[in-house]
């Protein structure tokens, strides 16, 4: 038997002629890397990659955006957010719209930037739009730690924090037809992959923990093809990911946050799928409770795109009224969004 080279993996993936397979990635960075490396062009038509609910911007509900725009337009308050979030529509406007109407909105690259802004402007309350998954939650814990250490009192978080195993369980329980999962490498580095061992066994589908480079993703897809039908987990990101994750990060998260129910765009409230600030840190919360209302644009099929039921092209709004310049659904906003990437891949 010849050695398993990248060349051979590519040949086998291109010529695969077995049962049709639907493989889902649930990490926005994987989605972006799959596009960046042109992975779909290397796969047989029998293997379809589906972007699941792994982009934090895409799964944010309108009530959360509405609260952010309200805060941005409130005297004495400023909102800091990562770039993509600025363009997501709430029920009447996006943060970018609020900014154009005189609201205070800062696009930042890291939560630490907000501390400098807040320290220099102590009369104003700075609210961070704290969206994200397991990977980002410890960053917000550090933000609070740093604020306490530096004695900066005018910072708060508006949280919409989510965890991955619960939404994967929800998807499979809802009948999504997925034959294998590319397990999120960064999330697993923090939270470990024990939850995925349970899920793999329960649903009888394989999970492969993957890195983010092109060859790593090809090896992961190859492994999933070989493992089809088996409820097992393989870690192809060793050295970075340990089964139990990073104890330090988990501890940091547990110190400031606790599990809660969370609202996902188009999917509703999924029990235990979110994280909230513990009551003892309530002074850092900017009113994150109860932001569950989810008014999607008429015709928007984000929910069905996120669960892999339809391709972005099958949404009636796609490319017609919903474009990256004027996104109606959140999946068209983010670089990690399924609709955005399908739109860009048309190359028009």
């Amino acid at each position: 038997m010849s050695a398993l080279t990248l060349e051979r993996i590519r040949e086998e993936l291109a010529s695969y002629d077995g049962a049709p397979l639907r493989i889902m990635e649930v990490c926005g960075t994987h989605t972006a890397s799959i596009v960046k490396n042109g992975i779909p062009s290397l796969l047989s038509d029998k293997i379809r990659l589906i972007s699941g609910p792994g982009c934090p911007v895409c799964v944010t509900v309108t009530a959360y955006i509405d609260r952010l725009t309200e805060l941005a337009l409130t005297e004495g308050t400023a909102v800091c957010a990562f770039g993509d979030l600025l363009r997501v529509r709430g029920s009447s406007m996006s943060l970018a719209d609020a900014k154009a109407r005189g609201g205070r909105v800062h696009m930042v690259y890291s939560p630490a930037q907000m501390l400098d802004l807040a320290e220099a402007d102590p009369q104003r309350t700075y609210v961070f739009a704290a969206v994200g998954f397991e990977t980002t939650i410890p960053v917000y814990a550090i933000l609070i730690q740093e604020a306490e250490r530096r004695g900066i009192r005018n910072v708060k978080l508006l949280t919409s924090l989510k965890t991955m195993p619960q939404v994967i369980g929800w998807l499979m329980d809802s009948g999504a037809k997925i034959d294998g999962f590319i397990a999120p490498g960064h999330v697993c580095a923090v939270a470990g992959y024990e939850d995925y061992i349970t899920a793999a066994a329960k649903y009888g589908v394989p999970f492969v923990v993957s890195g983010f480079e092109g060859p790593q993703l090809l090896a992961t897809i190859y492994a999933l093809v070989k493992m089809q039908g088996r409820g097992e987990v393989r870690n192809l990101y060793p050295g970075v990911v340990e089964k139990e994750g990073s104890p330090e990060s988990r501890q940091l998260t547990a110190e400031f946050f606790e599990p809660c129910d969370a609202a996902w765009r188009g999917m509703g409230i999924i029990p235990g799928s979110g994280m909230r600030l513990k009551d003892e840190f309530a002074q850092y919360d900017a009113g994150s409770e109860g932001l569950t209302e989810d008014r999607m644009a008429t015709g928007c099929q984000c929910a069905h795109v996120l669960t892999g039921e339809i391709t972005p092209e099958q949404c009636p709004l796609f490319g017609k009224v919903c474009t990256p310049q004027d996104p109606h659904g959140a999946c068209m906003v983010s670089q990690e969004g399924s609709c955005f990437n399908h739109f860009v891949a048309r190359g028009i």
Partner: protein, 338 residues
């Protein structure tokens, strides 16, 4: 200049304005057309005229490797060059915010004069206005330059000239200007310098060597990806770029990695993408590499007929051998880098 900060009176048109012009602008900008101080410059010229204008709002106005004065000359000069023109004359319009230190203004004007001299273009008209401070701690500055050049007879460059089989060349490494501005704004310490530069020596060398240039475009906002996408869609041809061949400095690559930016969509201010007849590829590379600012030039792709792909698309062959369709830059990009 007796004043150390710009005040509203400097835009009054009266004595203070005269002092500002004499003390800073006339000190560095002078030639026979400007020195006449007429209402309009009357300049010689004939043939096919190329005209362009651009406004510059970059913050901060001093950044590693350059400043808004150098940038506002390079931007307009390069736009003229890319149309095949020989740049000749520039206007220089300046909107200042009160509170701007006059020594900062002087440095900017001096830098603009030096860059204009390097680019071989004459600043023949100018204007200054002062507006109220918008909250910029050091006062803002906005510069508009308009440029005029002449296109030699028989020279015709543009996306409509692009043909199947043509070679695509980039004159150097990607993303430095964008990364330098962003790094400075974020207060990051690194070695990245803006590449802002006039490209006249390079384009002259190409034409002097007899290279059949189909189309040229300077890589500015939107980056190489956006420029090449324009070439593909305007020419109706399929262009394939080789990701491995794209030159990116190590420090810029690391910077992009940290911030999740793609060098393909980051702006330069001293690089151009050129499409040439494939038989002239080596000659073109030699001409560019032998010019100032062109030593890192590389062949990065070709104009080809890709099977099963609609025409007018831009494709990238990735290091793992995949083909990825590239669109123009969507969304924010990043604000105000030029």
């Amino acid at each position: 200049m007796t004043e150390s900060f710009i005040k509203m009176a400097h835009g009054s048109g009266g004595q203070s304005t005269s002092e500002l012009i004499a003390g800073i602008f006339a000190k560095y900008f002078h030639n026979e057309y400007l020195d006449a101080m007429g209402d309009a410059a009357v300049v010689p010229g004939s043939g096919r005229i190329a005209m362009t204008t651009d406004s510059f709002v970059v913050t901060p106005y001093f950044y590693p490797g350059g400043d808004i004065g150098r940038l506002c000359i390079c931007g307009t000069v390069n736009d003229l060059l890319m149309s095949g023109a020989v740049p000749k004359y520039l206007t220089f319009g300046c909107i200042l915010e009160e509170g701007m230190p006059t020594d900062a203004l002087e440095k900017i004007v001096q830098s603009a004069a030096q860059t204009a001299a390097e680019a071989g273009i004459q600043i023949v008209a100018g204007d200054t206005k002062v507006i109220e401070n918008s909250g910029h701690p050091e006062g803002g500055i906005i510069i508009n330059t308009a440029g005029v050049g002449f296109v030699p007879e028989g020279r015709s460059v543009g996306a409509d000239q692009i043909r199947e089989g043509d070679a695509v060349i980039i004159s150097g490494t990607l993303g430095e200007h964008h990364a330098a501005i962003l790094g400075k704004r974020m207060g990051l310490e690194n070695t990245i310098q803006s590449d802002n530069a006039p490209l006249g020596e390079m384009t002259s060398a190409l034409f002097a060597a007899g290279v059949r240039v189909r189309a040229m475009r300077d890589v500015t906002r939107g980056g190489l990806g956006t420029v090449m996408h324009e070439f593909a869609s305007e020419s109706g041809k399929t262009i394939i770029l080789e990701e491995k061949a794209l030159p990116v400095r190590r420090d810029v690559r690391d910077f992009c990695g940290i911030l999740g930016l793609d060098p393909l969509y980051m702006g330069n201010e001293g690089k151009m993408a050129v499409v040439v007849d494939p038989a002239d590829t080596e000659k073109a590379l030699e001409a560019i590499r032998g010019s100032r600012y062109g030593q890192d030039a590389a062949v990065i792709g070709e104009v080809a007929a890709a099977e099963n792909m609609p025409e007018g698309r831009l494709l990238l062959r990735t290091p793992v051998g995949g083909l990825r369709v590239l669109g123009p830059l969507y969304g924010e990009g990043l604000p105000r880098i030029c």
